[in-house]
Symmetry: C3
Subunit: 631 residues, 3 copies
Amino acid sequence: MKRTLGTCYYPEHWTEDIWAEDAARMADLGLTWVRIGEFAWSRLEPAPGDLQFGWLDRAFDTLAQTGLKIVLGTPTATPPRWMLERHPDMLAVDAQGRARGFGSRRHYCFSHDGYRAEAVRITALLAERYGRHPALGAWQTDNEYGCHDTVLSYSEAARRAFRDWLAQRYQSPDALNRAWGNVFWSMEYRDFDEIELPNLTVTEPNPAHAMDFRRFSSDQVARFNAAQVETIRAHSDAPISHNYMGRITEFDHFATGRQLDIATWDSYPLGFLEDRLEEADAHKRRYARQGDPDFQAFHHDLYRSVGHGRWWVMEQQPGPVNWAPHNPAPLPGMIRFWTWEAFAHGAEAVCYFRWRQAPFAQEQMHAGLLRPDHAEAVGHAEVAAVAADLTAAQDVETTKAPVALIFDYQAAWSWDVQPQGRGCDYFRLVFEVYRGLRKLGLSIDILPPDTRDFTDYDLILAPGLDMPPPDLIPAIAVSGAQALFGPRFGSKTDAFAIPVPLPPAISGLDAVVARVETLRPDMPVPVTGGGAITLWREHLEGGAQVLDRDADGLPVLLRAGSLHYLGGWPDPTYLARVLTRLAGAAGVLVRELPDDIRIRQSGPTLFIFNHGPDPVEFDGTRIPPAGFLRR
Amino acid sequence: MKRTLGTCYYPEHWTEDIWAEDAARMADLGLTWVRIGEFAWSRLEPAPGDLQFGWLDRAFDTLAQTGLKIVLGTPTATPPRWMLERHPDMLAVDAQGRARGFGSRRHYCFSHDGYRAEAVRITALLAERYGRHPALGAWQTDNEYGCHDTVLSYSEAARRAFRDWLAQRYQSPDALNRAWGNVFWSMEYRDFDEIELPNLTVTEPNPAHAMDFRRFSSDQVARFNAAQVETIRAHSDAPISHNYMGRITEFDHFATGRQLDIATWDSYPLGFLEDRLEEADAHKRRYARQGDPDFQAFHHDLYRSVGHGRWWVMEQQPGPVNWAPHNPAPLPGMIRFWTWEAFAHGAEAVCYFRWRQAPFAQEQMHAGLLRPDHAEAVGHAEVAAVAADLTAAQDVETTKAPVALIFDYQAAWSWDVQPQGRGCDYFRLVFEVYRGLRKLGLSIDILPPDTRDFTDYDLILAPGLDMPPPDLIPAIAVSGAQALFGPRFGSKTDAFAIPVPLPPAISGLDAVVARVETLRPDMPVPVTGGGAITLWREHLEGGAQVLDRDADGLPVLLRAGSLHYLGGWPDPTYLARVLTRLAGAAGVLVRELPDDIRIRQSGPTLFIFNHGPDPVEFDGTRIPPAGFLRR
Amino acid sequence: MKRTLGTCYYPEHWTEDIWAEDAARMADLGLTWVRIGEFAWSRLEPAPGDLQFGWLDRAFDTLAQTGLKIVLGTPTATPPRWMLERHPDMLAVDAQGRARGFGSRRHYCFSHDGYRAEAVRITALLAERYGRHPALGAWQTDNEYGCHDTVLSYSEAARRAFRDWLAQRYQSPDALNRAWGNVFWSMEYRDFDEIELPNLTVTEPNPAHAMDFRRFSSDQVARFNAAQVETIRAHSDAPISHNYMGRITEFDHFATGRQLDIATWDSYPLGFLEDRLEEADAHKRRYARQGDPDFQAFHHDLYRSVGHGRWWVMEQQPGPVNWAPHNPAPLPGMIRFWTWEAFAHGAEAVCYFRWRQAPFAQEQMHAGLLRPDHAEAVGHAEVAAVAADLTAAQDVETTKAPVALIFDYQAAWSWDVQPQGRGCDYFRLVFEVYRGLRKLGLSIDILPPDTRDFTDYDLILAPGLDMPPPDLIPAIAVSGAQALFGPRFGSKTDAFAIPVPLPPAISGLDAVVARVETLRPDMPVPVTGGGAITLWREHLEGGAQVLDRDADGLPVLLRAGSLHYLGGWPDPTYLARVLTRLAGAAGVLVRELPDDIRIRQSGPTLFIFNHGPDPVEFDGTRIPPAGFLRR
């Protein structure tokens, strides 16, 4: 498959007289795609019912004339001000009870039926008008679901919808009371309408209550997205996508992914490094101009799965951004580097956000490929270099990796609802395992928890999976792959209770988690042979084979055939030992890479990336900063 | 007196068919007491007036059949959901103005008359039915007053009650204006109904206003408790208790203690260490599996006083808990260790929370003596060991200590209202003095500020007592004991003003606090001879005998006969010097103990406890971690 | 001019029988001024319309009899409780939407018309009664505008007034939409009444929206002040002042300054050091008893400009205060030191806050010249020493400094609205430049951005001035002074957009800021030759002469004739290099001072101050701590 490039463009931000020149410059640069429209509602419908599609018609035509293909976004992330007069209660409400008002974006509650109908209405109008336009290449629903913490809403609309959702799920208040264990603290309900949203309670609410609210909230996103998808499909055969963000776990991306044709995501490596990682200052300083060595790759692999193999970077950082605590410039070469890293992981297209830096409003300090004065910005030349690369280079194949890592959004919610210890976060754990695999030179597929076909995987990891589907273990066992579970595997029932018999209840593995403790980060428990358990530690009992013990003699790693159970949170050293052992058993070759180096096998091609600020000697070749090799 | 053991049990959490077995296992383990009922309102009265006492009758009978004695809790900490329909305004309101809703526990405002009447109603029903039951051993009112920051409420009910309370106290707005100094900043009121609660002011409210609100709030707790106590006494002769928590200072425990027969408290050493102490990380790491060496002892001694000598541990941590920032497991042996520490300080009974770990709801990660699968948890064997100890060992006598430490809840409020420097906290100061005494091997009685009989005490300390009763000094002086006052002694009038003549106004001591300063923690002022003053420093003037001076030549420690005044917050080194000097003058023997060792003299018996994670040689004996000696 | 002393006195706090003695003691101490009345509304008008001026008449007379001159404050910072019954909606509302209630002070919204009318009414009554009183020396409007974060209010009154203000400014919603760039994210308005205050938006509001709210809020302060000033002028010829605070940037002090005759400020060096500076702990510890070496001087120089040369210290810290995180006592001698520092910078008068420490209400722990028991406090003797100094010493001349530093409140708002990187604060930048100049021994004038006459200045600095008036550069260029601009110079249009052509657009300087990045504080970029750029870094392009480059070879300092542009935030080392270079070019002599020493040239007199806690040898003379020389 031919990899392609694109950009994000806002014709409504500029006078029409420069559209044609912009389009020509895009084409000259070697771009294929241009995304438009996703924030333009106030220009498409300045007043209720006053539809103004003429300018968008002209933008379509102007862009199409140079051969560009259009990704059209539905503008539902930015309802105009007049929408609030029609639906004064459409705003989301934060956990403190404050309405989240007009004046920026994403000012709607996913549970508000009236607003969802408006979103369907504008989507239908766009789909009817542009669904068969020859330049239309793809759709995007809304923009960055969940950004700015917008999944969880404590509005009246959400309250009503949550009660309905609970009534559907449990059918009777008594069933709900039993499932949640509401006898504890006399929290029993006599009617679904007695149930409030789980905010502003005196102390923590029932975790089963909180967990169901998390499931409900995720379902509301899927329902909102589905309404748009169905509307578009009625009028258009173009593939439909959504642009996800980094480390948003409040809704199940696999659920929306099943509705869509392509997954895309918005990759801002420098912003994410500063804003969304637990790493130490030294790490953040070292990678300040390159981004974390694994964060982008993780999301590439995740969204490849969410998109069933079809995925893009819809917004690629092209220079400094405006929203992180600090916003440095990338090292020279990083725009090209990030683009090729995406291709190495199978991206069909990489689009740069944005074509021209807007001199006004919230993102005026966010770089574009052009400066506000229309001159080429620093990133422009790097994109030209990528375009030249694409012409010159062989295409990249995407193949299955030998390693599968299971990622479950539901587990992210349940860990969040009940971390049991500060710092115990599901994404963090899975990401640390992912990083550990990458440091051993492995390429990874990230899979949803409902995966049942594990053919061709040699190594399967399911860290932290506390609510596994009942048929997962058999499916993994039958695959013959070496598999690692734990900590916390199977530790919750669907109703957020501790199962009896006690976890992990892995068939064939004679072990129970007799108790759980969480540890201060400064009191790791060493494991015999090297490394340590930190943060989360389980006391395992039973007759299973013990592969490792800790300094207190307690079992840490158990085994039954190809299945392994890890009873704690491993530090990087011990993690490397565990992964190396399992890879050895699986016949997967590992290689300890230098700190800054990561590799990715894409079909017959091996990509080698230097994420550090210094040159690295690797296999006799010197790789400069922001440099990469293709073999 | 024979010391006894018990547990906390929730028959309503389990099917009736296992109650008998549970009761038998409790008896087999050597338990005497079982506390039940304190969260069961929704099962006792599932709908308003629909009383369902049958199950509780059967639970009483089943437990009684094995000889267990019952502590019955009133369920008023957990009003059922229907209560809110009857009293929609019964919720407490936080300082930010948000109602603290249903969905956990303690969701009521102490000032709400309607809810208090409901609490009396259910208490009366229970007292009438079980007040004379042969198995009833004691009562518990409500549960953990003040837990989850529930004493201070900014509700409409509280506002009305506060105005009435002020009207009673001051009789006229003018009297209040004069007392508070409301002329300052034109804060004068013309009517009690003009007075708001002291939250959400532009900058700090008048401290006299805040102080009266603190007194009022404490009084509301006492009033709420008194209503239950009176109701129970009408129908029962069993002793009445309440289970207090650790480091809750928002209400005067001595005031509720005067209404009750027994004080109990809920001792969670590991949770408290992480959650409620200012200590450095190194200290928290060292004691992570044992708890702070002095925190439990402090509360044992405090509640012995609150209970007029009669006190229990009603809830003893039996393994990891679920609510602290980190929740490690205790060292092996700590359950037995903590139990014996309580007995050494005079506990009549120690009950473990809880019998069986609940697999559902908020506390599902809180250990019990049994696991959720009914198997014995780690703590079970330690309780069996204690039961064996009790059979084998001589009983523990409780005697008066040679040292008295005065603790005044009112001082905690006033320091909180006006700390004058970050870190200046009354509990912290008193606790540091307590720790200093313990490190010198002393046993201590903690006394309320209205104590007048100091017979048999050789050493009396009243650190931080800013609002002493007028007849305290004469009572202490007449006792002949060596006494230490300050800092801040007598520095506030009852109306929260600086008294003139200036403090400390200790008869016979020619000194005034000419000025006060608070210090950054990194700028201690050395005291000649060793140690330093930190955080709080007074500039003393006058002709009193100066025992110590600081590096600037200012007096630090003054003396008039047996009375001493300390003009600052001592660091541990200087504190040890001061305490050693006074103990010497008092003829009390001190002994500098190793860091991890604490001792307690109980009648003729000396208990020696090793709180550290390592063995300690002490007087030629090696005490292992979690170990203790009895001599 | 003869420098004078004074104090702040509250006759309403004391019984009338001691007024005469107080007045006599003030006169004996050598005081000239006594400020009264500014919080006394509830005593002047205990009930609506019930005017009680008798006591104030008597206070005037008593004070006047000893020759004291009175500064009369309007009591509008403390409306009485009854005012809220007349104007229940007069309270300010915080950014979280909570009304900021009665019970302390400054409980009003500047936008409330009803309250402003009340303020005018009481002002008129005072002006009519005392405007021609022979003892009246000056007026003070209100008290410390902006203290306790009271400029920004999100009340309904503010919302209405903001809409009117916007309508005045933009005339049509379309003009506003274009100016703000509201097409971005569909934020367009159809009516001014659709515009909300910029709080509680989902993510950040449009910075143009936030910026206009900041301008509006500042204008409301000016409008409130103007109403009082006009009222007073109708009845009195006495000069009118306001007492500003330290580091309050929410309103434009130059704007209120233009309405007033004298600027005064309230100087609390120790409180400010702890509370309002970004400095490291070591710095705060070193100067804990002296205050920051430059903070007071900065405000002296700033308010000399705000007052057009006429300025006072209205409240001088006389001992420990009550409101900072820690409140230490000043070093002996500091009261005198601070007073003389103010005189060296041109203060006409220094008044001490307060005469006698109040034993009641919020500030009872704030020192006065007298203790609550009427005895002399520590500061009293130091004031007596100053009075003696004044008798003995030659008067201080005030002359223009050779260095001008431009300070623009609007820039403070715009940096605040869009810092782009954590720690990027306008006041901090300007203050660091000011400190850098002082460490080189320079005396400085601080000027408003509308200054056009730069005669006699040799060196002009305008750091961080992002919205310069269009005619500023020509005025500076014509002066011939060496001038330094940047970073961020000219980077915003009046409508808060990036200008095209790109900044800095300094005529004659061929350079554009091609991009901007913000840096973690731990990743400074070294400048060739010494020092580094930190926090904020611009990538400069163009043909201008490059004076310094950074380690990446990027230009840092550019020059065109006498105009220089600095493309980043300099660390102290590099700042010293830049300032030394420019001073050299300007023919201004610099001298690297010891860390603790600062000097101030006042006409022919050179003042040398030792701000450190240790003696310093300077030019052969030993200056003790809290010591200073006059040459």
